[in-house]
Subunit: 165 residues, 2 copies
DNA sequence: GTAAAATAGTTAGGTAATCAAAATATCTGC
DNA sequence: GCAGATATTTTGATTACCTAACTATTTTAC
Protein backbone atom coordinates (compact mmCIF):
# COMPACT_ATOMS: atom_id res chain seq x y z
CA UNK A 1 0.00 0.00 0.00
CA UNK A 2 1.48 3.36 -0.99
CA UNK A 3 1.49 6.51 1.12
CA UNK A 4 -1.55 7.97 -0.49
CA UNK A 5 -3.67 4.89 0.00
CA UNK A 6 -2.39 4.59 3.52
CA UNK A 7 -3.49 8.12 4.30
CA UNK A 8 -6.92 7.64 2.72
CA UNK A 9 -7.29 4.45 4.69
CA UNK A 10 -6.42 6.12 7.99
CA UNK A 11 -8.80 8.97 7.32
CA UNK A 12 -11.66 6.66 6.46
CA UNK A 13 -11.09 4.55 9.55
CA UNK A 14 -10.88 7.65 11.68
CA UNK A 15 -14.04 9.18 10.27
CA UNK A 16 -15.84 5.90 10.68
CA UNK A 17 -14.79 5.59 14.32
CA UNK A 18 -15.70 9.18 15.11
CA UNK A 19 -19.15 8.89 13.61
CA UNK A 20 -19.83 5.86 15.78
CA UNK A 21 -18.76 7.65 18.92
CA UNK A 22 -20.74 10.74 18.02
CA UNK A 23 -23.84 8.73 17.33
CA UNK A 24 -23.59 7.03 20.69
CA UNK A 25 -22.97 10.32 22.47
CA UNK A 26 -25.78 12.06 20.64
CA UNK A 27 -28.29 9.57 21.91
CA UNK A 28 -27.19 10.12 25.44
CA UNK A 29 -28.36 13.71 25.62
CA UNK A 30 -31.95 14.83 25.74
CA UNK A 31 -35.17 13.04 26.20
CA UNK A 32 -34.38 9.61 24.83
CA UNK A 33 -31.29 8.86 26.84
CA UNK A 34 -32.78 5.48 27.73
CA UNK A 35 -32.35 4.27 24.14
CA UNK A 36 -29.10 2.59 23.08
CA UNK A 37 -27.89 2.71 19.48
CA UNK A 38 -28.95 -0.85 19.03
CA UNK A 39 -32.42 -0.12 20.36
CA UNK A 40 -32.69 2.84 17.99
CA UNK A 41 -31.65 0.50 15.23
CA UNK A 42 -34.47 -1.82 16.23
CA UNK A 43 -36.94 1.08 16.00
CA UNK A 44 -35.60 1.78 12.50
CA UNK A 45 -36.19 -1.85 11.62
CA UNK A 46 -39.82 -1.64 12.65
CA UNK A 47 -40.27 1.57 10.70
CA UNK A 48 -42.74 4.40 10.97
CA UNK A 49 -45.81 3.32 9.14
CA UNK A 50 -46.55 -0.37 9.00
CA UNK A 51 -46.83 -2.89 11.75
CA UNK A 52 -44.36 -5.68 11.23
CA UNK A 53 -44.25 -9.28 12.39
CA UNK A 54 -41.42 -10.45 14.60
CA UNK A 55 -39.91 -12.60 11.87
CA UNK A 56 -40.04 -9.85 9.24
CA UNK A 57 -38.40 -7.42 11.59
CA UNK A 58 -35.78 -9.90 12.71
CA UNK A 59 -34.90 -10.50 9.06
CA UNK A 60 -34.63 -6.79 8.35
CA UNK A 61 -32.33 -6.40 11.31
CA UNK A 62 -30.40 -9.63 10.66
CA UNK A 63 -30.93 -11.00 14.14
CA UNK A 64 -32.68 -14.14 15.34
CA UNK A 65 -36.27 -13.90 16.52
CA UNK A 66 -35.07 -14.90 19.97
CA UNK A 67 -32.85 -11.84 20.12
CA UNK A 68 -35.66 -9.68 18.83
CA UNK A 69 -38.13 -10.98 21.40
CA UNK A 70 -35.83 -9.87 24.18
CA UNK A 71 -35.19 -6.49 22.53
CA UNK A 72 -38.90 -5.90 22.02
CA UNK A 73 -39.65 -6.87 25.63
CA UNK A 74 -37.46 -4.00 26.71
CA UNK A 75 -38.79 -1.52 24.15
CA UNK A 76 -42.37 -2.33 25.14
CA UNK A 77 -41.46 -1.89 28.78
CA UNK A 78 -39.89 1.50 27.97
CA UNK A 79 -42.95 2.52 25.97
CA UNK A 80 -41.45 2.77 22.48
CA UNK A 81 -43.15 -0.23 20.91
CA UNK A 82 -46.59 -1.75 20.90
CA UNK A 83 -46.96 -5.53 20.61
CA UNK A 84 -50.16 -7.34 19.61
CA UNK A 85 -51.08 -10.81 18.51
CA UNK A 86 -52.64 -10.99 15.07
CA UNK A 87 -56.33 -11.86 15.39
CA UNK A 88 -56.42 -13.85 12.14
CA UNK A 89 -53.34 -15.97 12.72
CA UNK A 90 -52.66 -16.11 16.39
CA UNK A 91 -49.14 -17.40 15.92
CA UNK A 92 -48.16 -13.99 14.58
CA UNK A 93 -47.15 -11.06 16.74
CA UNK A 94 -47.36 -7.58 15.21
CA UNK A 95 -45.16 -4.82 16.50
CA UNK A 96 -45.31 -1.11 15.77
CA UNK A 97 -43.90 2.09 17.16
CA UNK A 98 -45.87 3.98 19.77
CA UNK A 99 -46.18 7.76 19.52
CA UNK A 100 -43.10 8.04 21.68
CA UNK A 101 -41.31 5.50 19.48
CA UNK A 102 -42.14 7.52 16.38
CA UNK A 103 -40.94 10.73 17.95
CA UNK A 104 -37.66 9.13 18.95
CA UNK A 105 -37.23 7.74 15.46
CA UNK A 106 -37.90 11.07 13.76
CA UNK A 107 -35.45 12.81 15.99
CA UNK A 108 -32.91 10.21 15.10
CA UNK A 109 -33.43 11.04 11.43
CA UNK A 110 -32.73 14.67 12.29
CA UNK A 111 -29.51 13.49 13.81
CA UNK A 112 -28.49 12.04 10.48
CA UNK A 113 -29.38 15.24 8.68
CA UNK A 114 -27.32 17.30 11.05
CA UNK A 115 -24.48 14.86 10.83
CA UNK A 116 -24.33 15.05 7.06
CA UNK A 117 -24.61 18.81 7.20
CA UNK A 118 -21.83 18.94 9.62
CA UNK A 119 -19.60 16.56 7.77
CA UNK A 120 -19.97 18.26 4.44
CA UNK A 121 -20.01 21.86 5.60
CA UNK A 122 -16.29 22.47 5.05
CA UNK A 123 -16.40 21.09 1.50
CA UNK A 124 -16.83 22.99 -1.73
CA UNK A 125 -18.89 21.71 -4.66
CA UNK A 126 -16.21 19.68 -6.39
CA UNK A 127 -15.14 18.14 -3.11
CA UNK A 128 -18.72 17.23 -2.33
CA UNK A 129 -19.12 15.52 -5.66
CA UNK A 130 -15.96 13.59 -5.23
CA UNK A 131 -16.93 12.53 -1.74
CA UNK A 132 -20.23 11.33 -3.09
CA UNK A 133 -18.42 9.27 -5.69
CA UNK A 134 -16.07 7.85 -3.09
CA UNK A 135 -18.94 6.88 -0.81
CA UNK A 136 -20.83 5.32 -3.68
CA UNK A 137 -17.75 3.35 -4.46
CA UNK A 138 -17.43 2.09 -0.90
CA UNK A 139 -21.07 1.17 -0.89
CA UNK A 140 -20.85 -0.74 -4.15
CA UNK A 141 -17.69 -2.46 -3.06
CA UNK A 142 -19.40 -3.76 -0.01
CA UNK A 143 -22.51 -4.88 -1.82
CA UNK A 144 -20.92 -6.53 -4.81
CA UNK A 145 -17.70 -7.91 -3.65
CA UNK A 146 -18.53 -10.14 -0.77
CA UNK A 147 -17.73 -13.33 -2.59
CA UNK A 148 -14.79 -12.10 -4.58
CA UNK A 149 -13.44 -10.39 -1.54
CA UNK A 150 -13.56 -13.51 0.55
CA UNK A 151 -11.75 -15.41 -2.15
CA UNK A 152 -9.09 -12.71 -2.44
CA UNK A 153 -8.68 -12.59 1.27
CA UNK A 154 -8.20 -16.28 1.45
CA UNK A 155 -5.59 -16.18 -1.30
CA UNK A 156 -3.81 -13.33 0.44
CA UNK A 157 -3.86 -15.34 3.61
CA UNK A 158 -2.29 -18.37 2.02
CA UNK A 159 0.34 -16.23 0.34
CA UNK A 160 1.18 -14.47 3.57
CA UNK A 161 1.61 -17.81 5.29
CA UNK A 162 3.91 -19.06 2.55
CA UNK A 163 6.00 -15.95 3.03
CA UNK A 164 6.23 -16.84 6.69
CA UNK A 165 4.78 -13.53 7.76
CA UNK B 1 -32.34 18.43 3.35
CA UNK B 2 -31.32 18.77 -0.30
CA UNK B 3 -30.75 15.90 -2.70
CA UNK B 4 -27.06 15.83 -2.19
CA UNK B 5 -27.29 15.58 1.57
CA UNK B 6 -30.02 13.01 1.27
CA UNK B 7 -27.86 10.86 -0.93
CA UNK B 8 -24.82 11.20 1.33
CA UNK B 9 -27.00 10.36 4.30
CA UNK B 10 -28.37 7.21 2.72
CA UNK B 11 -24.93 6.12 1.64
CA UNK B 12 -23.47 6.64 5.08
CA UNK B 13 -26.23 4.69 6.77
CA UNK B 14 -25.91 1.91 4.26
CA UNK B 15 -22.15 1.78 4.50
CA UNK B 16 -22.23 1.70 8.27
CA UNK B 17 -24.63 -1.16 8.38
CA UNK B 18 -22.89 -3.14 5.71
CA UNK B 19 -19.27 -2.60 6.62
CA UNK B 20 -19.81 -4.20 9.97
CA UNK B 21 -21.50 -7.23 8.51
CA UNK B 22 -18.96 -7.65 5.74
CA UNK B 23 -16.01 -7.20 7.98
CA UNK B 24 -17.40 -9.72 10.43
CA UNK B 25 -18.07 -12.20 7.64
CA UNK B 26 -14.62 -11.69 6.18
CA UNK B 27 -13.12 -12.59 9.49
CA UNK B 28 -15.06 -15.81 9.72
CA UNK B 29 -13.34 -17.61 6.88
CA UNK B 30 -9.91 -19.07 7.00
CA UNK B 31 -7.48 -19.44 9.79
CA UNK B 32 -8.57 -16.64 12.07
CA UNK B 33 -12.21 -17.52 12.43
CA UNK B 34 -11.88 -17.33 16.19
CA UNK B 35 -11.40 -13.53 16.08
CA UNK B 36 -14.36 -11.17 16.37
CA UNK B 37 -14.31 -7.66 14.92
CA UNK B 38 -13.91 -6.26 18.34
CA UNK B 39 -10.97 -8.54 19.03
CA UNK B 40 -9.41 -7.48 15.74
CA UNK B 41 -9.94 -3.89 16.80
CA UNK B 42 -8.06 -4.65 20.00
CA UNK B 43 -5.17 -6.05 17.97
CA UNK B 44 -5.18 -2.81 15.94
CA UNK B 45 -5.02 -0.85 19.19
CA UNK B 46 -1.93 -2.72 20.29
CA UNK B 47 -0.30 -2.20 16.92
CA UNK B 48 2.42 -4.06 15.09
CA UNK B 49 5.66 -2.71 16.37
CA UNK B 50 5.72 -1.43 19.93
CA UNK B 51 4.67 -3.10 23.10
CA UNK B 52 2.03 -1.03 24.81
CA UNK B 53 0.89 -0.76 28.41
CA UNK B 54 -2.66 -1.64 29.34
CA UNK B 55 -3.59 1.95 30.11
CA UNK B 56 -2.14 3.30 26.85
CA UNK B 57 -3.96 0.68 24.86
CA UNK B 58 -7.22 1.19 26.73
CA UNK B 59 -6.99 4.91 25.97
CA UNK B 60 -6.33 4.27 22.30
CA UNK B 61 -9.35 1.99 22.18
CA UNK B 62 -11.53 4.22 24.38
CA UNK B 63 -12.43 1.45 26.81
CA UNK B 64 -11.74 1.09 30.52
CA UNK B 65 -8.72 -0.92 31.60
CA UNK B 66 -11.11 -3.39 33.20
CA UNK B 67 -12.66 -4.10 29.83
CA UNK B 68 -9.25 -4.40 28.25
CA UNK B 69 -8.02 -6.85 30.88
CA UNK B 70 -10.84 -9.21 29.99
CA UNK B 71 -10.27 -8.81 26.27
CA UNK B 72 -6.55 -9.43 26.63
CA UNK B 73 -7.17 -12.52 28.79
CA UNK B 74 -8.99 -14.06 25.86
CA UNK B 75 -6.50 -12.93 23.23
CA UNK B 76 -3.63 -14.36 25.26
CA UNK B 77 -5.53 -17.62 25.67
CA UNK B 78 -6.10 -17.74 21.90
CA UNK B 79 -2.45 -17.01 21.24
CA UNK B 80 -2.70 -13.60 19.57
CA UNK B 81 -1.21 -11.47 22.33
CA UNK B 82 1.73 -11.73 24.67
CA UNK B 83 1.46 -10.19 28.13
CA UNK B 84 4.42 -9.40 30.36
CA UNK B 85 5.02 -7.37 33.48
CA UNK B 86 7.54 -4.58 33.08
CA UNK B 87 10.70 -5.48 34.98
CA UNK B 88 11.46 -1.86 35.92
CA UNK B 89 8.04 -0.92 37.16
CA UNK B 90 6.16 -4.02 38.14
CA UNK B 91 2.81 -2.27 38.22
CA UNK B 92 2.95 -2.00 34.45
CA UNK B 93 1.86 -4.75 32.10
CA UNK B 94 3.18 -4.67 28.55
CA UNK B 95 1.23 -6.31 25.79
CA UNK B 96 2.27 -7.01 22.23
CA UNK B 97 1.11 -9.10 19.32
CA UNK B 98 2.48 -12.58 18.92
CA UNK B 99 3.56 -13.80 15.48
CA UNK B 100 0.07 -15.15 14.99
CA UNK B 101 -1.39 -11.82 16.15
CA UNK B 102 0.73 -9.93 13.64
CA UNK B 103 -0.28 -12.23 10.83
CA UNK B 104 -3.96 -11.81 11.66
CA UNK B 105 -3.56 -8.06 11.79
CA UNK B 106 -1.78 -7.86 8.44
CA UNK B 107 -4.47 -9.92 6.79
CA UNK B 108 -7.04 -7.59 8.21
CA UNK B 109 -5.23 -4.70 6.55
CA UNK B 110 -5.83 -6.43 3.23
CA UNK B 111 -9.52 -5.77 3.60
CA UNK B 112 -8.82 -2.09 3.94
CA UNK B 113 -6.35 -2.16 1.08
CA UNK B 114 -8.92 -3.65 -1.24
CA UNK B 115 -11.44 -1.06 -0.16
CA UNK B 116 -9.12 1.87 -0.70
CA UNK B 117 -7.96 0.47 -4.04
CA UNK B 118 -11.51 0.29 -5.15
CA UNK B 119 -12.11 3.90 -4.21
CA UNK B 120 -8.96 5.44 -5.60
CA UNK B 121 -8.36 3.36 -8.71
CA UNK B 122 -10.74 5.31 -10.97
CA UNK B 123 -9.42 8.70 -9.84
CA UNK B 124 -6.81 10.77 -11.65
CA UNK B 125 -4.05 12.65 -9.84
CA UNK B 126 -5.90 15.88 -9.21
CA UNK B 127 -8.96 13.99 -8.06
CA UNK B 128 -6.86 11.97 -5.68
CA UNK B 129 -5.53 15.16 -4.14
CA UNK B 130 -8.99 16.57 -3.90
CA UNK B 131 -10.27 13.45 -2.18
CA UNK B 132 -7.46 13.56 0.31
CA UNK B 133 -8.20 17.19 1.07
CA UNK B 134 -11.91 16.49 1.43
CA UNK B 135 -11.36 13.56 3.77
CA UNK B 136 -8.86 15.54 5.82
CA UNK B 137 -11.31 18.41 6.27
CA UNK B 138 -14.05 16.03 7.25
CA UNK B 139 -11.81 14.24 9.69
CA UNK B 140 -10.61 17.43 11.37
CA UNK B 141 -14.05 18.94 11.40
CA UNK B 142 -15.63 15.95 13.08
CA UNK B 143 -13.16 16.06 15.91
CA UNK B 144 -13.54 19.73 16.59
CA UNK B 145 -17.24 20.14 16.47
CA UNK B 146 -18.62 17.59 18.87
CA UNK B 147 -19.77 20.06 21.48
CA UNK B 148 -21.39 22.47 19.09
CA UNK B 149 -23.04 19.60 17.34
CA UNK B 150 -24.61 18.18 20.45
CA UNK B 151 -26.01 21.60 21.27
CA UNK B 152 -27.55 21.83 17.80
CA UNK B 153 -29.07 18.42 18.19
CA UNK B 154 -30.66 19.36 21.43
CA UNK B 155 -32.14 22.48 19.89
CA UNK B 156 -33.51 20.43 17.00
CA UNK B 157 -35.07 18.06 19.48
CA UNK B 158 -36.82 20.80 21.38
CA UNK B 159 -38.06 22.37 18.18
CA UNK B 160 -39.40 19.07 16.91
CA UNK B 161 -41.29 18.57 20.13
CA UNK B 162 -42.77 22.04 19.95
CA UNK B 163 -43.97 21.21 16.46
CA UNK B 164 -45.66 18.16 17.92
CA UNK B 165 -43.73 15.82 15.67
C1' DG C 1 -61.59 -34.73 10.91
C1' DT C 2 -57.58 -35.57 13.04
C1' DA C 3 -52.54 -36.51 13.49
C1' DA C 4 -48.15 -34.95 11.68
C1' DA C 5 -45.59 -31.31 9.91
C1' DA C 6 -44.76 -26.58 9.47
C1' DT C 7 -44.60 -21.97 11.24
C1' DA C 8 -44.22 -18.05 14.71
C1' DG C 9 -42.70 -16.74 18.83
C1' DT C 10 -40.79 -17.21 23.55
C1' DT C 11 -37.73 -19.05 26.97
C1' DA C 12 -33.41 -20.80 28.72
C1' DG C 13 -28.63 -21.16 28.96
C1' DG C 14 -24.36 -19.41 27.31
C1' DT C 15 -20.66 -16.03 25.49
C1' DA C 16 -18.85 -11.49 24.73
C1' DA C 17 -18.39 -6.49 25.37
C1' DT C 18 -18.93 -3.09 28.21
C1' DC C 19 -18.95 -0.16 32.69
C1' DA C 20 -18.21 1.42 37.64
C1' DA C 21 -16.37 0.44 41.79
C1' DA C 22 -13.64 -2.35 44.94
C1' DA C 23 -9.45 -4.80 45.60
C1' DT C 24 -4.48 -5.66 44.93
C1' DA C 25 0.16 -4.65 43.97
C1' DT C 26 3.76 -1.56 43.33
C1' DC C 27 6.09 2.77 43.30
C1' DT C 28 7.31 7.64 44.92
C1' DG C 29 7.92 11.57 47.86
C1' DC C 30 8.57 13.20 52.00
C1' DG D 1 8.72 3.64 56.14
C1' DC D 2 4.29 5.10 55.37
C1' DA D 3 0.60 7.83 52.74
C1' DG D 4 -0.89 8.62 48.58
C1' DA D 5 -0.54 7.93 43.71
C1' DT D 6 -0.58 4.77 39.86
C1' DA D 7 -1.40 0.40 37.11
C1' DT D 8 -3.91 -3.42 36.75
C1' DT D 9 -7.24 -7.00 37.96
C1' DT D 10 -11.44 -8.56 39.91
C1' DT D 11 -16.31 -8.30 40.77
C1' DG D 12 -20.96 -7.57 39.84
C1' DA D 13 -23.95 -5.45 36.73
C1' DT D 14 -26.31 -4.73 32.00
C1' DT D 15 -26.98 -5.35 27.07
C1' DA D 16 -26.70 -7.84 22.82
C1' DC D 17 -26.33 -11.68 20.69
C1' DC D 18 -26.54 -16.89 19.60
C1' DT D 19 -28.43 -21.85 19.55
C1' DA D 20 -31.57 -25.04 20.96
C1' DA D 21 -35.58 -26.45 23.41
C1' DC D 22 -40.23 -25.44 24.09
C1' DT D 23 -45.20 -23.70 23.33
C1' DA D 24 -48.96 -22.40 20.65
C1' DT D 25 -51.22 -22.29 16.44
C1' DT D 26 -52.14 -23.31 11.65
C1' DT D 27 -51.78 -26.17 7.52
C1' DT D 28 -51.59 -30.42 5.13
C1' DA D 29 -52.30 -35.01 3.90
C1' DC D 30 -54.43 -38.92 4.50
Amino acid sequence: MNDYDQRVNELLVHIFDEIMVTEEKALQVGRFADLSISEMHTLEGIGLYESRTMTETADILSVTTGTLTVAIDRLVRKGYVDRQRDSDDRRIVRIKLTKKGKLAFRLHLKFHTLLVDRITKPLDESEKNLLLRALTSVSLFIEEQDQRYLKNLHKAELKAERNGE
